[in-house]
């Protein structure tokens, strides 16, 4: 099976769908001739033409608004917002329009728009190129929210998102584009070619939206996480020698509570981890849902390991990032509680 990094896998997903369905179009800033600043749309304009892979003006609200109109008129637009940090001008179009069009028109109108956007830090991007705003979208009724953590899932989930008749906000943890990353910036960079999830079929397949993945089975504690934190969780559990079950949520909305609940019934202990700020983060939703469904199975309070409640600071990104030390602290806390 071909080896792909996450950039290539995402490119392959769009390539597959552009070839398969004439309704699919890709639009965004620098996505055409240049192939995107992260090269995710490389070669697609050459292959499918400037009308299907469109360079747009710098206007995120315009991109999403236009995509809604295109979608209502029969297309399946995939919008690239160059950095998640720049998505906010489009927030009105996404939260007030895209999310609610089906609802307010009693199903007569809908807009199958996918909004792709790179998120997360660890690339010396400072406060304007590092954010993880998934909670702001998960909170809006009517949006599906996805964040893959590896090339295989990235391709399968992106194809599923493009085919989905509901809007999907698709976050790509850019620190994982080129390889898995366990939160140790000084460690040698790993490549996807050595990782089983770097094996990506060339053609069409989907990974279902709304289904979490048990990345590692274990008995002692469940770590519920997604994106960059999946690999940090693996590393932290290994360092502590804890038999952790690690769940990659993959889809924040709809949330696969069944997988999470089954795991909690087995382990009775839980750490929730994400890179975004803690206060009102998606972790808070996970903790609330878990205690509602699994309270009588819990043997200890659920602990969160997250970014701090500050903007992402350039000079201190590794003190901000919830690395193995923060995860290990959380795991110890939850294991030591009686």
């Amino acid at each position: 099976m071909p080896k792909m990094n996450m950039v290539q896998a995402l490119n392959s997903a769009m390539d597959t769908m552009l070839a398969r369905d004439n309704a699919v179009v890709v639009l965004g800033q620098d996505v055409g001739y240049f192939g995107g600043v992260f090269k995710v749309t490389e070669g697609l304009q050459r292959k499918y033409g400037a009308q299907r892979v469109l360079d747009t003006p710098i206007a995120e609200s315009g991109m999403v608004g236009a995509a809604i109109g295109m979608a209502v008129n029969g297309l399946r637009p995939v919008v690239e917002i160059q950095f998640a940090d720049y998505i906010y001008p489009a927030y009105d179009q996404i939260a007030s329009e895209l999310a609610r069009l089906r609802y307010r028109s009693a199903g007569e109108f809908f807009a199958p728009v996918t909004v792709r956007t790179p998120c997360g830090g660890g690339i010396r991007g400072g406060q304007t190129h590092s954010q993880s705003p998934e909670a702001l979208f998960a909170h809006v009724a009517g949006l599906k929210v996805v964040m893959p953590s590896n090339p295989y899932d990235a391709k399968g989930l992106l194809i599923a998102a493009i085919e989905d008749n509901d809007p999907v906000i698709f976050f790509e943890p850019k620190r994982l584009y080129n390889g898995p990353f366990a939160g140790e910036p000084e460690a040698p960079a790993e490549s996807w070619s050595a990782h089983p999830k770097g094996e990506v079929p060339d053609g069409y397949y989907t990974v279902p939206i709304g289904k979490a993945d048990v990345v590692k089975h274990g008995e002692d504690v469940t770590i519920v996480c997604y994106g960059t934190l999946v690999f940090v969780a693996e590393a932290a559990a290994k360092k502590l020698g804890i038999d952790a079950e690690i769940i990659d949520v993959r889809t924040m909305v709809p949330l696969d509570m069944e997988t999470i609940s089954n795991s909690l019934q087995k382990t009775g202990r839980c750490v929730v981890a994400h890179e975004a700020t803690r206060f009102g983060g998606f972790g808070a939703e996970l903790v609330a849902s878990i205690q509602e469904e699994c309270f009588w199975h819990l043997q200890a309070p659920i602990v969160r390991a997250t970014g701090w409640d500050t903007p992402y600071p350039l000079a201190f990104e590794w003190q901000y990032f919830p690395g193995p030390a923060r995860l290990m602290h959380a795991l110890k806390t939850v294991m030591e509680a009686s």
Binding site: G49, I58, D309
Partner: protein
């Protein structure tokens, strides 16, 4: 023949009539890698040809100035026409010095980035006249809202370049305390606002600052800068609306350097109409200016400054220039535009043109120029040596990571105090 000798361009046909398969028009770029640079699309007016109306003229009457090109320096390096600001040689030499210092600073910082000593940089090669001449045309008490290619504003206002270097180094004297990417400076004492990184967001803020100035009955004005690509953002249009409605004492500058990373200005709407021409549509006076002509940039800004300070209202200025370097150190323009195209830019280089003008006036010589370049290089080198002792990426003192919890709020809430303790424990 220099483009400056050309008669005013007739309204242009689309410069390359490309009919795509169906009917959606996608603006092409004039030239891509491997092709010869093509600037035939550039609309010009001969220097000296446009009138300079009184500053209280109606916005509508500025339309010819918004679609033409205000220029002063002709192909023989002489100042001609009603827009000649008649600056004395000392002022011109000061402008030359600031532009050369900006360029020397940029070149050194670019080298420093290649050596891995700073993590990111943005040069303004070819755009030096914009920041320097505009800053000189304004008062030090006026509030400036810079974009990321306006380092010349800081340099001209007198911010020591060593301070800028400490920010680039994210070292212990970093004015941003380690929180911002390199080049996102600020200088409250110098009336230079904090750079955001998000595009066009500062235009409505500048309008609001100017509205406050009017509310308070002060005569300070505001000026803000954005690229032509960012005029597509809603904030640009909202800023123009507010500026027109309240006749805010503000100058909104669009630096049209032809490229938004890989995207040619046609995609921002520059093929159908000039960016300046947006102004009169909103009721805002507008000037389209040769951005590489120091005298024209100074003169246009002075006109707008008088209009704003006198209470007539705001002006939109489009500065036609060329992004001579990459978008940033993360960008490689040879992937999307002809190599060396900057050398072919018909409006030339702002420093070379001002230098030639001064030489023509008998106020300057090649030898003096070379001596000044060398002096400024030394100044930059010595500032660098000084800045580096406060820490670099790889060595020297480091900022305390506990600083990350400060300034989120005026006083630190309990949850951040707790998180600061947790981080401390993590590091022990």
């Amino acid at each position: 023949m220099s483009i400056l000798d050309r008669p005013a361009s007739a309204p242009l046909e689309p410069f390359r009539a490309v009919r795509m398969t169906n009917n959606l028009h996608v603006p092409p770029s004039p030239a891509r890698p491997g092709e010869a640079p093509d600037f035939s699309y550039l609309r010009v007016t001969p220097p000296g040809a446009l009138e300079r109306p009184i500053v209280t003229v109606s916005a509508t009457e500025t339309l010819p100035l918004a679609t033409g090109l205000v220029g002063v320096l002709n192909s023989e390096h002489r100042a001609v026409g009603p827009w000649d600001p008649r600056l004395d040689p000392q002022t011109l030499l000061a402008g030359l010095r600031f532009m050369l210092l900006t360029r020397a600073f940029d070149e050194r910082m670019q080298r420093t980035h290649r050596q891995g000593r700073i993590s990111f940089y943005v040069r303004c090669l070819g755009e030096e006249a914009v920041s320097v001449a505009q800053c000189m045309a304004l008062r030090d008490t006026d509030m400036l809202f810079p974009s990321y290619r306006n380092q010349g504003l800081f340099i001209t206002r007198g911010k020591p370049i060593g301070d800028l270097m400490c920010q680039l180094l994210t070292n212990t004297r970093d004015m941003c305390k380690g929180r911002q990417l390199p080049v996102f400076y600020h200088w409250a004492a110098g009336n230079l606002f904090s750079l955001s990184g998000n595009l066009a967001t500062q235009l409505p803020q500048a309008v609001g600052w100017a509205m406050a100035s009017a509310i308070k009955g002060e005569d300070r004005i505001a000026a803000a800068w954005t690229g032509e690509g960012s005029t597509a953002e809603g904030d640009f249009h909202q800023a123009l609306t507010f500026a027109a409605v309240y006749r805010a004492p503000v100058i909104l500058n669009v630096v049209n350097n032809q490229w938004a990373i890989s995207t040619f200005q046609g995609v921002a709407g520059g093929a159908a109409q000039t960016f300046a021409a947006r102004g009169p549509g909103y009721g805002v006076a507008a000037l389209r200016v040769d951005g590489n002509d120091f005298l024209a940039v100074y003169s246009a800004t002075k006109w707008a400054e008088e209009r704003a300070r006198g209470g007539t209202g705001s002006t939109l200025i489009e500065l036609v220039t060329y992004r001579g370097a990459a978008h940033s150190t993360s960008d490689d323009p040879t992937r999307y535009r002809p190599t060396e195209d900057y050398r072919h830019w018909p409006l030339g280089d702002p420093i070379e043109r001002l230098k030639a003008h001064l030489v023509t006036l008998g106020e300057w010589s090649d030898a003096q120029h070379a001596a000044l370049v060398s002096e400024l290089d030394d100044q930059v080198a010595s500032s660098w040596k000084d800045a580096a002792q406060y820490g670099t990426l790889s060595e020297g003192p480091r900022l305390d990571s506990a600083l990350m919890f400060e300034d989120v709020f005026e006083s630190m809430p309990q949850h951040l105090v707790r998180q600061r303790e947790l981080l401390q424990a993590e590091q022990d």
